[in-house]
Symmetry: C2
Subunit: 319 residues, 2 copies
Amino acid sequence: MKILVISSALKDKQKALIEAAALKTGSEVYFFRSENEITAEMQDAEIIYGFGVNYARTNKNLKWLCVPSAGVDYLMKPGSFANEECLLTNSAGAYGVTIAEHIIAVALMMMRNITDYYAGSLNRKWSLPKPQKSLKDCKITILGTGDIGTNFARRAKAFEPKSITGICRSGKCDDIAFDRVMKVDELDKILPETELLVMSLPATKETENILSKERIALLPEGAYIVNVGRGSAIDEEALSDALDGGRLAGAALDVFRTEPLPENSRLWTTKNLLITPHVAGNLTLEHTLNRNVEMFCEDLVNFISGKELKHLVDKKNGY
Amino acid sequence: MKILVISSALKDKQKALIEAAALKTGSEVYFFRSENEITAEMQDAEIIYGFGVNYARTNKNLKWLCVPSAGVDYLMKPGSFANEECLLTNSAGAYGVTIAEHIIAVALMMMRNITDYYAGSLNRKWSLPKPQKSLKDCKITILGTGDIGTNFARRAKAFEPKSITGICRSGKCDDIAFDRVMKVDELDKILPETELLVMSLPATKETENILSKERIALLPEGAYIVNVGRGSAIDEEALSDALDGGRLAGAALDVFRTEPLPENSRLWTTKNLLITPHVAGNLTLEHTLNRNVEMFCEDLVNFISGKELKHLVDKKNGY
């Protein structure tokens, strides 16, 4: 088997891990920093680890594409795979730790008004104390109880919140960090008692606009929202209205319907909106990079030995 | 007994708690928003809860001053008490939760470069991803293992750091959040292996300049510092040098040798220095305010019944 690895993030340490796994499975591995570098004699490769999007669309030899991202919405369009039988795995499971840290950071920045103090400090301004809110005694709801939601819940638990409610399709998640887990069709019942809403959902038909104008209106006055999943999950215009009108106390968005966020977007100037440029879960943290590579290597052994892949994406569900 | 309560932070709920405690102990209570409002007929009051600094300096009737702050350095000068026998209690123990949240927030802001993303967003800038560090696998040292250090350690533990080392005068602290607790004279041994140094110390003779130029040089390249105790603990000039020179990756200071920080201070423009205006532990968070009042009420019962006060300050040690 010929494996193409396409990544500009890998360092020698991670390359060595992949080479060891390839050796163990009797495969050949070739490293590229981008898809453009792939040469003609590599067109018979059957495995790609990396963003091999063009290769997958045009090459019938490809049997397995493993992408380093958690979201795979960009591979769900018809025609994304020249070989319709091509397996797809993602790297959901590598980002929980780093994205959980992002969520805690931005939630506290908003609740404690640190954004304002920091903005003031850039102009040498010693600001007066502002009202504070706390994760202690806070009623937290987490939409999406996967790796990210669970890692956040475990960390949030240490802050002694009043409750941590997980919401997912199945209504099931065993992690003890959740006080309760409910099905997504109970969302409308939970929103009115949610003080901090954390959203960590893949972009699918079912999650499109899940936080609609009507649902934003169900949140209580003074609630906070953090979104680290996909921008398509929120009605951005309704969110801006709720923030500018002062009904919501704050929102922190790392993902947007259009990325990069256009310069003329209303979101840039929406009141109490903390914008980060889709960086909650990138590969610059070594822990994330290592987990990402380890997960591919695990499934490489599975693939070569004909076992089921652990991180397989269900193309029908889109995650 | 006549009790004067001096505070602009109290709401009806907290006033009712104090009134109930006063009733229980057969005392009279009078509320003032500032010390200037205290009238002549109140000069026979024996108890003050609040910043009764002038009253304490001039009034021999005062038997007990309870201040809402954790630090009492401003009451350690000779002549601070007209009645030298006057008892002093502080409110250390009320601020642990809120200051621990501040420490987590600013540590993550620095390690994840959220400060830069946020500053960029103020100019509609979609920044490129920057290197990330994590609390996971981080070697954390906490100078000061009191209420603040302990509450921080408990929260930090959930982030799966490599180690949490507490350092205090006695070298003893039972809280299981600490992996080990060492005496302050071992500080120089611990600094070279410290990736995040959290400082939560009172201002005393022993803590003055404890993070000296020499000790800053003992920290490894790329270390982070958070100070929420008192500004006198750090050689600010040496810290600026280490940050501007790029040896340290970042520092977050909430306290300074001179507050408010003068407009011409070098600290405002020091590289990778996150400045907050002494707000980590103010009384705007309801939990903090409630704890503060509860602690006074507990000790009011102790005082009236002749028992030892729980939150007594040792005037010799200064905390």
